[in-house]
Amino acid sequence: MTEPSTTPRLDALLQAQQRQPTSYQPQQDGWPALQQRLIEQRQTDSQSPRAPAWWHWLVGTAAVLVVAVTVFSANHYTRTAEPTNQLLVLLSTLENHQQQQRELVRGSFQQVGYNPAGAVVDTEVAQLQQAAEEVASQLRRDPNNQALWEMLQWLHQQELQLLRDSYQRSVTWYDV
């Protein structure tokens, strides 16, 4: 990292820094002031922060398919309803679909004798579910918010992936 030198004392200090990197704690807790600014900004900014771009590829084809099918279903069965109502139907359909997928993943692994995930993963799954519920709740108030839709789909995908990974991991641990 450093150029060859004729500065042995400096090199000794740099090597000590590399072995044990130093970091400093701010003299004051900056969070209260920062929090205040963020809240004020959120109140004045009607446009909420955009969803991360990487969600687009994370959600992937499967999510697009789910949306396409559910939108078609919602359109088919609620032709005369307002667009907002259609979106709320879609939201319910998505939530039901997620519940079915969750049970399917758990059931398919348990059926063949795989062990369920540990407490840590359960906590993570619960957090994902809670986050999804919060997003769904916001969507009911603002059903035209595209970023929220993408986020909900991403959270659903992550929950299922975490469940699958945890079962696969538990198999690896016990088999080794």
Binding site: E3, Y24, P26, G30, W54, L128
Partner: protein
């Protein structure tokens, strides 16, 4: 050696961070606090080294996190969040400090030096000898030294960030090392 528990813990931690970023990007201030607490110390240290000023480092840290709050949506997830944050922080610090203090002003003039030493002696933060000395370097020379020797960036990266030639970056580092060694010998 990594064991499966470590890998699993790391995966869960990564998962948690992603979910937290998603929540923060949606406007969840509590989720953003978690990110702030995780990275505050490292960012403050970078800001302190870049600015050589305790109060400015505190301001810079806050301004940076406001900046990040507005731009969380730009995080693409193709690198670790800490790497992305560090890159944003470095760029932000350079732009901010250039606006605050013209680059021709050197911290090695005696008045600035006295102010800095007073700050160091009054501060409850116990700076290492290396950081105390690096803080006395002229601004651009200090940035090159900090980014290369303490943050591990290449001259190519530094040159791109600072808008200077690679050779200039190397020359700054050479002079910084000479100056620091001189101070180590004579102070």
């Amino acid at each position: 050696m990594l064991d499966t528990d470590t890998i699993a813990d790391s995966a869960v931690q990564q998962q948690h961070e992603w979910v937290t970023i998603g929540r923060a990007a949606a406007g969840d201030v509590q989720a953003f606090e978690w990110l702030y607490r995780q990275h505050e110390r490292r960012i403050y240290t970078l800001m302190l080294r870049m600015s050589a000023d305790f109060a400015m480092a505190q301001d810079l840290t806050q301004e940076l996190f406001v900046h990040v709050w507005q731009r969380l949506g730009q995080f693409r997830g193709d690198s670790k969040f800490s790497t992305w944050l560090h890159t944003v922080a470095t760029r932000f610090a350079i732009q901010y400090l250039r606006r605050q203090r013209p680059s021709h002003i050197s911290m090695v003039d005696s008045e600035s030096c006295q102010q800095l030493q007073q700050q160091v002696s009054d501060s409850p933060v116990d700076l290492t000898l290396l950081d105390q000395l690096a803080a006395r370097l002229p601004m651009q020379m200090r940035w090159v030294f900090v980014l290369h020797c303490l943050e591990g960036q290449s001259h190519q990266q530094i040159a791109a960030e600072l808008g200077i030639a690679e050779g200039t970056s190397k020359a700054h580092l050479h002079h910084a090392r000479q100056q620091l060694e001189e101070w180590l010998e004579h102070d």
